[in-house]
């Protein structure tokens, strides 16, 4: 048994788990998640400044409400309409969210969006509109594979010797989008791909076949 066997087993289990989740949740739900996760990730990568501005605006509203509430509470305590003599201090969003926090904020927004999509698709899409099957399982596995390069660098940032590269490369337009995609390929998908070694062509052929067969199987189901 080689040193990489536990890693391979973990990887297979991870992929199977997401395949099973995909199978259970059905195709439409998984495709919605895939669209939001991939689209949202690259959009946020390219518009990290905008994400920070939006978060600041939202937090500004929340802080504003808290500030008004605090003033009101202070005025009630003081028993006067002017809010008493003591000023109420609240921390503004720009004070604890600097420009340097852009990647962190965009990643947190993306994670929140992803979680929300998982929950909303469970509630909003009825079971009969999100059919289970091989294709749903494949899309589920696709989701799982996409999460590896997005979550792994952050999760194992505490273990520098693992050396997984970050994929946060901001950019704009088509070039920025392509740069983000190729960064991801270079850094992490590449590692997975390289690990397959001489089995790459045959596995690629099997993957293409399974994908096409899965799509064909939906045609048959439609006939019934």
């Amino acid at each position: 048994m080689s040193e990489t066997t536990p890693g391979t087993v973990a990887f297979v289990l991870y992929v199977l788990l997401f395949g099973w989740i995909g199978f259970r949740r059905g195709l439409f739900r998984e495709l919605s998640v895939l669209t939001v996760s991939v689209g949202g990730f690259f959009l946020l990568q390219q518009n990290q400044g905008l994400a920070l501005d939006i978060v600041r605006q939202v937090l500004g509203i929340i802080f504003g409400v808290i500030s008004i509430g605090a003033k009101l509470l202070a005025s009630l305590r003081a028993g006067g309409a002017d809010g008493g003599q003591e000023p109420v201090y609240t921390l503004g969003p720009s004070e604890w969210l600097s420009e340097a926090d852009q990647p962190t904020v965009s990643f947190l927004v993306w994670s929140g969006l992803l979680l929300l999509t998982y929950m909303l698709t469970n509630k909003a899409i009825p079971d009969n509109q999100s059919s289970s099957g091989l294709l749903a399982a494949i899309i589920g596995m696709g989701n799982g594979l996409f999460y590896i390069p997005t979550f792994a660098p952050r999760l194992i940032a505490f273990i520098p010797e693992v050396g997984v590269a970050s994929v946060s490369t901001p950019g704009t337009g088509v070039q920025g989008f392509l740069r983000s995609v190729t960064d991801m390929m270079e850094s992490n998908f590449d590692n997975i791909w390289e690990a397959l070694g001489p089995q790459q062509p045959i596995l690629a052929a099997i993957a293409l076949t399974v994908l096409l067969v899965a799509v064909i199987s939906t045609l048959r189901r439609g006939q019934n």
Partner: protein, 181 residues
């Protein structure tokens, strides 16, 4: 001259949109034709190249390697395009059954269209890459590859499956599914 990845990306996008318009039930048949075309060209390339080179040297005895590369590249380009055109314009192989309604059907059409786009555009790019971008001598494309293009070249269909043999797997399975109905 624009970036080569934008050039071939545009071709892939157009084919994806055609797939969306046509529906995945028809596009699957075309996928099969595309895979067959890729298989055939990969299978004959090594055997055919010496013959084509000899024929070229008989007609044009002067040693002009770039013109010879342009000839070989264009030969495979034309052969591939003619096969694909026949798949799109001629009688299409169809798989029985009805496709899913919107929105799942639309997403699947986009998916199969994108696969076809990748296979077609990737193959056209491959026959430029493998012969040293001979179209650049005509000024049609830039021979300078951006770092993105260099990375994408590694994922062209024929670079992922360089031998003809693995391409037989999808052909055989799809053929079996088509015959079984």
């Amino acid at each position: 001259m624009g970036l080569i990845e934008v050039y071939f990306g545009s071709i892939a996008s157009i084919i994806t949109l055609i797939g969306l318009a046509q529906g995945y039930a028809r596009e699957l048949g075309r996928s099969m034709i595309i895979i067959v075309a890729i298989f055939l060209l990969l299978y004959v390339e090594d055997r055919l190249n010496p013959i084509l080179t000899s024929a070229w040297q008989m007609v044009f005895p002067a040693k002009d390697l770039s013109a010879q590369q342009l000839f070989l590249s264009n030969f495979y380009l034309v052969a591939f395009v003619v096969t694909i055109f026949a798949g799109y314009a001629g009688r299409v192989i169809t798989f029985s059954g009805q496709q899913w309604p919107m929105p799942q059907g639309t997403i699947l059409s986009l998916l199969v269209g994108a696969i076809n786009g990748y296979l077609i555009s990737g193959s056209l790019w491959y026959y430029q890459d493998v012969y040293g971008y001979p179209l650049s001598s005509l000024g049609w494309i830039s021979p300078e590859l951006s770092p993105i293009a260099v990375e994408l070249v590694r994922y062209l269909p024929q670079n992922i499956m360089p031998s003809a043999t693995p391409w037989v797997i999808p052909i055989a399975i799809l053929l079996l599914m088509r015959v079984r109905g």
